[in-house]
């Protein structure tokens, strides 16, 4: 690892830890009450959903409009698992149960990602989008009819294993992993498929394999997001995982910039926090939200960051540079 990369890693680590400490203090001193902590937790979960969706929508460049379906699978699978585990009486600490539940949720969702992705990814563009909607709806309807997980009435009594502290770090880890994926050979392969599938195949990339990989990974992380969601809300309802929710996630990624992970993070934060803040205007907030969407698409369709990432290191360096230039100008004038 060269010097510049080490510097970047250091700066980002400091930023992440500092941010955590800020939240830690705010929570411990009760400046942030339960309501705000809840928003923060949901924001982290939505960040995970947006980041995972970006693997398919951003890196691979396909319109995946059924992401809520994988979240649902992860949620229900992990909840069933944790409930069974806790019922069995094994004296496991909550954190362990949560980690196991996340793994279960992720893997089950990932398996479905593979099963659904394999036939679906033969299609492209609009058709792919429609089929993903179809699968997502079938999943939702399945859970409405599936007695063992409560059916339409929902699944109650899930132990609340999630708190801000563990969800924050899970989010950071997932963001890190998807980021490194994007800048690895596998990520490059996936991106090359987006750029030109025929050329990618002609360059030696097994495109079908990588398309399914991207889809399965996205589903895996979505499953983890679902697991966190289940163990925070303590209650699951199939209606929450409908087509509209998938669209919301997709819009978050698009507005942040397809392919930009920092864009997804910021977009997820803004689009989760803002509606909460504007609850008093709740009647009009969805109206305004949709207007913003339309206006953004007309005037800045690439989203906030397009395909690039916001680099904290570069930002700090540019600030330092500006300060140096200012100093040398002032110094020059003074002498």
């Amino acid at each position: 690892m060269d010097h510049n990369k080490k510097k970047t890693y250091l700066i980002n680590t400091i930023a992440v830890v500092s941010l955590y400490l800020v939240f830690f203090v705010l929570i411990q001193t009760k400046i942030m009450n339960n309501y705000f902590v809840g928003i923060a937790i949901m924001t982290c979960i939505m960040i995970i959903m947006a980041i995972s969706l970006n693997i398919v929508a951003g890196f691979l460049g396909e319109m995946a409009l059924g992401h809520a379906g994988f979240m649902a699978i992860g949620a229900y699978a992990s909840a069933s698992f944790s409930m069974a585990l806790i019922d069995s009486g094994l004296p496991l600490p909550h954190l362990v149960v949560l980690i196991l539940a996340m793994i279960v949720g992720g893997i089950v969702a990932g398996i479905f990602g593979f099963l659904i992705g394999t036939p679906t990814l033969r299609l492209r563009g609009d058709y792919l989008g429609i089929v993903t909607i179809g699968f997502s709806e079938i999943i939702r309807i399945f859970f409405i009819n599936f007695g063992p997980t409560g059916g339409a009435a929902g699944l109650k009594g899930i132990t609340r294993l999630v708190n801000f502290h563990n969800v924050y770090w899970v989010t950071i880890i997932i963001v890190f992993l998807v980021f490194t994926l994007g800048r690895s050979k596998q990520g490059r392969a996936i991106i090359s498929i987006r750029e030109d599938e025929i050329a990618s195949e002609a360059a030696g990339i097994p495109t079908t394999r990588y398309k399914v990989l991207a889809f399965s990974l996205a589903a895996f992380f979505a499953g983890i997001g679902g697991a966190l969601y289940a163990h925070y809300q303590s209650f699951l309802e199939p209606s929450k995982f409908g087509f509209m929710f998938s669209i919301e996630m997709f819009v978050i990624v698009v507005l942040g910039g397809l392919g930009s992970l920092t864009g997804s993070i910021i977009s997820a934060i803004v689009l989760t926090v803002l509606p909460e803040m504007l609850r008093s205007f709740s009647e009009y907030r969805l109206l305004v939200y949709s207007l913003v969407l339309i206006i953004m698409m007309i005037f800045r369709p690439q989203g906030i960051f397009g395909r690039s990432e916001f680099s904290l290191t570069a930002f700090i360096e540019s600030l330092i540079q500006r300060k140096n230039i200012k100093n040398s100008i002032d110094g020059g004038e003074a002498s």
Partner: protein, 252 residues
Amino acid sequence: MTVLSAKNITMQFGGLTAVDQFNLELNANELVGLIGPNGAGKTTIFNMLTGVYVPTMGEIILNDQSIIKKTPHEIVKLGASRTFQNIRLFKDLTAVENVKIAYHNFIDYNMIQGMFRTKKFWDEEKKAQEECMKLLDIFDMGEYADTLAKNLPYGQQRKLEIARALASDPKVLMLDEPAAGMNPNETAELMETIHFIRNKFDITVLLIEHDMKLVMGICERIIVVDYGKTIAEGTPDEIKNNPEVIRAYLGD
């Protein structure tokens, strides 16, 4: 020694026969040209040879293996790579990243090692960067390494396609109109480059071209197709004076 052979390959699209019983024998280190009027079926032949189309009939052997039912990426692994008539670069990737895509199979770390940034990852990425930069340097493109492909001048884009095709370490390199849109200087440079890489990398080159100066200048053997059929085959001198060829290009 034959590296690539096509036996009576035919391509039919519905009622249209685009290529009719085409035969090809490429020997090691040959530099062969494939020419013919527009619409003669040359790119279709390339597409069959590289697995993009499955021939309606016939057999294709690459390095003693039948590649008829193989996908393009499998064929790349077996040692054949190509460039495209209309340039198909990965526009939002840099030049060196474009080359790294073709170098993919020589980079040895799995997804987990990549995601967790192990030592293997850093070592392999370093190797990939070095090797791909070497390829770019052969084409004098070192300064463009970190430029996005879409921002490269046209001539550099064409060169990048060839550099990328070489990154997969092919035995057979198929170039589809590599000189299209180039000025005479660039074309002369390209001719030297093709000679150079054929010798340095010990490869066989098959190229489609309309630029006769390039074809006559560097090809050792030329195959002429028209309406999907081979109408002549021979040395540049033989082809230049072949009445069938003249008739195909200029009409009766």
